[in-house]
């Protein structure tokens, strides 16, 4: 696929998705009397920040043609580590949070090292760390220990408002803006798409491919640690099962947002729209008094619909035009 048609694809896909999000909003607003209230919008934000962060960090990873299945497990491990540092090592929450962030980056570094130095496929590496991180979290707590009774100053991060928005929403906005600038406005981050399109081509163009790839996994680890801290502050509890299954929600949001799972095509704002579409759907169904199980079904249908709706017009156009192949090929004389 050539670059211009790729760009057109992205734009068209995101436009479609934007309409879907608007339609969802209007639909649920009509069905649920309290859906459109400020309180509920904040609920949606609050419940979405952790998965949203993971999706944001997953976007560069998938753009380079990789995948990171370990972020949900790393969230759990980081939550446990944060709890341990705070309760058992007696560190103040800020220091414990700092250490957790460093640990998250290191854990991402482990993925990066295995993928770039040993040239193992990201799917396999992160499938391994997916089990490893969750297993470590369960081993540290023996599955039973939970960390709780955090000070209110820390819970403020997850449960209160600051300057009108839920506190963690500010962090989310900062990370979203940062990753958006990185991917769309910095030469450094623009190479992610080049790598995703053709790693060899990028290498010949002078891009330090392995270094850039390592960077996205470290970033994913760091953001997973941040999500862990916010998660702990929101629930007021850290337990080994934190973030179970979140990696799949994040990947769904990224792909729904128009990022190609093969890499090279995609955008951060697409991911944000993808996150919004899923979050609004999940929350809105409750307000429309529909059973929660429907959400999973509709998310899947939405994903398939959004993906095909951006491909169908092209297929349609190709069908309307006379097929070019017979015209161009030199007719061979019948024998």
């Amino acid at each position: 696929m050539s670059a211009p048609s790729g760009k057109a694809f992205v734009l068209r896909h995101e436009t479609v998705l934007l309409f879907v999000v608007v339609a969802e909003w209007c639909c649920f607003n009509a069905l649920g009397p309290r859906f459109g209230t400020l309180d509920n919008s904040f609920d949606i934000l609050r419940h979405t920040v952790e998965i949203g962060l993971l999706a944001l960090a997953m976007t560069p990873v998938i753009l380079t043609g990789g995948i990171d299945l370990s972020v949900g497990s790393l969230l759990g491990l980081c939550a446990i580590l944060f709890g341990k540092l705070w309760r058992d090592a007696g560190l103040p929450p800020e220091v414990a949070a700092g250490c957790t962030l460093i640990f998250g980056a290191l854990a991402g570094g482990l993925n990066a090292a295995l993928i770039t130095a040993l040239r193992l496929p990201p799917l396999i590496v992160t499938l391994g760390t997916y089990s490893l991180f969750r297993g470590l979290a369960e081993a540290i707590t023996r599955g039973a220990d939970t960390f709780t009774n955090f000070p209110p100053s820390f819970l403020f991060l997850g449960q209160e408002r600051w300057l009108g928005l839920p506190t963690q929403a500010w962090l989310f906005l900062v990370v979203a803006a940062g990753i958006w600038v990185l991917v769309h406005r910095m030469t450094y981050g623009r190479t992610y798409r080049a790598i995703g399109f053709a790693p060899e081509g990028a290498r010949f163009a002078g891009v330090p491919v392995q270094g850039r790839i390592a960077g996205v996994y470290v970033l994913a680890g760091l953001v997973a640690a941040l999500a862990a801290i916010i998660y702990t502050a929101r629930l007021g509890q850290a337990k080994a099962d934190a973030g179970t299954g979140y990696e799949l929600f994040a990947i769904t949001a990224v792909v729904l947002g128009g990022t190609s799972i093969f890499g090279g095509i995609g955008s951060v704002h697409g991911t944000l729209l993808g996150v919004a579409a899923i979050a609004i759907l999940n929350n809105g169904l409750v307000h429309a008094r529909q059973p929660r199980e429907v959400a999973g079904m509709l998310t899947g249908a939405l994903l398939l619909l959004a993906l095909s709706s951006s491909v169908l017009p092209k297929l349609f156009a190709a069908w309307r035009r006379p097929p070019p192949a017979p015209v161009r090929s030199t007719p061979s004389p019948p024998t």
């Binding site: 309290r34 309180d39 934000l45 629930l235 099962d241 934190a242 179970t244 944000l272 929660r292």
Partner: protein, 337 residues
């Protein structure tokens, strides 16, 4: 710049949505004894679990009897944050009272406290939250009730005479220890002719329970009864007794779900399964929730009258469901959980 405008639109959308009529936050509704229909939100640990489906059946009966709206929702997947999300959604929806069975004691308490601060009443059932996050806990069974229930049933089956053994989950688990303590206390107090010859752990595994039971049967030829106080052990022990050809000679009783044991009970291997009536638990929970909203149930009350179910004792802030129920050959077909 097209991308910019897209991004801006997306943000604007969120903001626009947020900006819409911040009508008085969910609290206003409060209790509605005069006029407005009360909405009770019932939160199970997990939605598909037969145990909670049975609770729901009882809750629906109570809802019909009282003429209230009942919401029943819970996690379907193993995401521990889901219960909190559901409670927070209910706060926004503006329900009158939330009745929760708590999967994550400390974690859910955060959300329940938030509900209380918005004027929503909160009670718990089946599994308690932290005491400051709810007004009452509908306690389905005290350790004493379970211990005495099991011991009395064993004594009834053996005419208070003979050897028996206990199979439990682990020797260290807190609830198992608690139940064992009450079983042994009851034994010492009321049944001098009965003798506890062995206590074996099965790690909450059915096959381990089966091999432990087989070992017990050969080690103690005079054994008259196996008492199983964790749910996988009941069918496990029954299988061992059946395979040893001792059905009827060695009785099997235990704490478990009727559905897991129906086969053995009907075959006459297992004599009785002890548990509370989950439907009654759901019924009582909804009755108590509504009474709390109407103000007819207050902290400090000693008894509570729950419609068709009659009167229940309140101990501190625990509403006691009462004695466990004995499921046996005659009644087990009426229960499907």
């Amino acid at each position: 710049m097209k991308k910019w405008s897209l991004l801006l639109t997306a943000v604007a959308l969120f903001v626009a949505g947020c900006g819409k009529s911040p009508e008085s936050p969910a609290s206003g509704s409060g209790a509605g004894p005069a006029g407005k229909k009360i909405t009770v939100a019932l939160l199970p640990k997990s939605k598909g679990n037969a145990y909670f489906i049975s609770c729901k059946a009882g809750a629906e009966k109570a809802a019909r009897a009282l003429g209230i709206d009942l919401l029943f929702d819970g996690p379907t997947e193993s995401d521990p944050a889901k219960q909190n999300e559901i409670v927070e959604n209910w706060i926004t929806l503006g329900v009158d009272v939330i009745a929760a069975a708590c999967e994550n004691r400390e974690g859910i308490s955060t959300a329940l406290r938030k509900a209380q601060s918005r004027g929503i009443k909160v009670i718990t059932y089946d599994a308690d939250a932290l005491p400051d996050a709810r007004t009452f806990f509908v306690n389905q069974a005290t350790p004493e009730g379970i211990g005495h229930g099991l011991m009395d049933e064993a004594a009834r089956l053996l005419n208070a005479e003979g050897e028996f053994a206990i199979i439990l989950a682990t020797l260290t688990a807190a609830n198992q220890q608690e139940w064992r303590k009450h079983i042994e206390a009851r034994l010492a107090e009321k049944y001098p002719k009965m003798k506890l010859v062995a206590v074996r752990p099965c790690d909450d595994l059915k096959d381990k329970a089966q091999s432990e039971a087989t070992a017990l049967l050969s080690a103690h030829p005079n054994l008259k009864l196996l008492m199983n106080i964790c749910s996988p052990a009941v069918p496990g022990a029954a299988e061992a007794v059946k395979q040893a050809g001792k059905a009827g000679q060695v009785k099997v009783i235990g704490l478990g779900l009727p559905s897991e044991n129906r086969r053995y009970v009907k075959e006459g291997v297992t004599d009785s399964v002890i548990l509370w009536k989950t439907e009654d638990l759901g019924y009582l929970t909804v009755e108590a929730a509504v009474a709390l909203v109407k103000g007819t149930l207050k902290p400090g009350d000693k008894t509570f009258k729950a419609g068709a179910l009659g009167e229940f004792e309140i101990k501190g802030d625990n509403i006691l469901l009462g004695k466990p129920f004995v499921f046996n050959k005659d009644n087990i077909d009426q229960f499907n959980f």
